[in-house]
């Protein structure tokens, strides 16, 4: 599984990006992130989830797994609850 994560926006407008490849994770971490992706329902999410307000983060998440590839743009104010743990895990990594 390959995760491409980008965060932009926020008061300072900083842009940060990360790539996570399960091949380079230890088995526990790999299992953990796969669980998080599975329980998030990521592949069923709408490609754009817009939000409200100003100076919120904007996330761009692409996951390539097992022949499926999907990209979602999400406003921080509208992250689906099931997706929160995955986003938090990626941000902390």
């Amino acid at each position: 599984m390959r995760i491409d994560f980008k965060r932009s926006g926020g008061f300072a407008g900083l842009r940060m990006s990360k790539t996570i490849d399960t091949n380079s994770l230890n088995p526990d971490e790999s299992k953990r992130v796969i669980n998080l992706v599975e329980s998030s329902g990521f592949f069923d999410l709408s490609p754009t989830i817009s939000g409200t307000g100003a100076d919120r983060y904007r996330y761009h998440l692409t996951i390539d797994w097992d022949g499926r590839k999907h990209s979602v743009q999400i406003d921080e104010s509208a992250i689906p609850p099931k997706l929160v743990p995955l986003i938090e895990w990626i941000e902390r990594k």
Binding site: G9, F11, A12, G13, T52, G53, A54, D55, H60
Partner: protein, 353 residues
């Protein structure tokens, strides 16, 4: 017992309150003002709520009464959190809460004293702020209803730096003002304008409180907020966009100061925090050309433009044309003001095509 109905009054005791109530509702502006002041003071002395209750809305409008409420999410994320400080209360044991309270007051006073604007909606709306949002959260934002401040992680932004920065607080509150006025869409050029107006008011509120003329201001948004490990002086420079930071971890400040360097991107809602550098620099140039305090001319022009002219989909050229027109209306066609504004926009790439 004497009543001085000119605003400098004493304590009423002989004249019954209903006379003041009537004046408060039906009198001339001057009479209303004086009557309301009398009632407020006597209320304070007597500790009664009943009279004030009946005409409270009139008081809020006439006297520019602040209504601030500070909440604390205690490092969690469910807004607004727990109420920790309400209008009129003494400072609490939490610096962030006190700062959010005080700086909201400064911002309110700026708008009211200079532009007669009564809170974000110009109708005395309650100013709601939440502090300690999430854990080590390196951000502040406007939800559409309230301001929210993180603590900062200490590794990117100094802990406590969001609430200790008056320009950040005034920036967030101004997103509210924009929502209630022009409603600039938060994407691409209109979004960059939205961002710029927040920085413009942010820098002016700071200059106002610190009593800085345009030549004495550093024109920096969020100076000193970066952690010591980050090579940067501020989050943005209005004077010289693109020079605020240059660091291996966070990169180089990407802001353009000219239309030629406008960044076409899908990041950041079409680069709203990036391309705001262009209108920011226009404001800086106009203000510095006119001298004195920024709010007297350039600030007034910008505020009237935001409040009365711009629309949700206004572009850079619309903003430029509007400020030039407003400058002419306020200060005279072809005056130094209109010329300064026109020159400023020319310097950053007008007509933006």
């Amino acid at each position: 017992m004497s009543i001085l109905v000119d605003g400098t009054l004493a304590v009423p005791g002989i004249i019954p309150p209903f006379i003041f109530e009537k004046a408060a509702k039906k009198g001339s502006e001057k009479q209303k003002d004086a009557a309301l002041k009398t009632l407020m003071i006597s209320e304070t002395l007597r500790g009664q709520r009943q009279i004030l209750g009946k005409i409270a809305p009139a008081i809020a409008l006439a006297l520019g009464e602040k209504q601030r409420s500070i909440y604390d999410t205690r490092n969690r994320k469910v807004l607004p959190g727990k109420l920790v400080l309400n209008e009129g209360q003494a400072p609490v044991n939490d610096l962030a809460a006190n700062q959010a309270y005080n700086y909201a007051g400064n911002t309110y006073d700026f708008y009211f004293n200079l532009f007669k604007r009564n809170s974000l909606d110009n109708n005395g709306m309650r100013m709601i702020s939440t502090v300690h949002f999430a854990k080590g959260y390196d951000n502040a934002f406007w939800t559409g209803r309230q301001m929210v401040y993180g603590d900062g992680s200490g590794s990117l932004f100094k802990v406590g730096s969001f609430t200790s920065s008056l320009d950040v607080i005034a920036h967030e509150m101004t997103h509210g003002v924009t929502d209630y006025t022009s409603g600039l869409n938060y994407q691409y050029q209109s979004g960059a304008l939205n961002e710029s107006f927040s920085d413009v008011i942010g820098i002016m509120v700071k200059q106002y409180v610190l009593n800085l003329t345009v030549d004495k201001s550093d024109w920096l948004i969020g100076p000193g907020m970066w952690a010591d490990s980050i090579n940067g002086v501020a989050i943005r420079s209005m004077k010289d966009p693109g020079t605020a930071y240059n660091d291996p971890v966070i990169g180089k400040d990407p802001q353009p100061g000219h239309w030629n360097d406008y960044l076409e991107t899908e990041d950041d809602e079409g680069g709203v925090h990036i391309n705001s550098g262009i209108p920011n620099r226009a404001f800086y140039l106009a203000a510095v050309a006119l001298g004195g305090y920024s709010w007297e001319k350039a600030g007034k022009i910008w505020y009237i433009t935001l409040k009365d002219i711009l629309k949700p989909d206004s572009q850079f050229k619309d903003a430029a044309d509007a400020t030039i027109s407003v400058a002419g209306n306020l200060f005279g066609a072809n005056g130094v003001e209109q010329n300064a504004v026109r020159n400023a926009w020319n310097a950053v790439g007008y007509p933006f095509s």
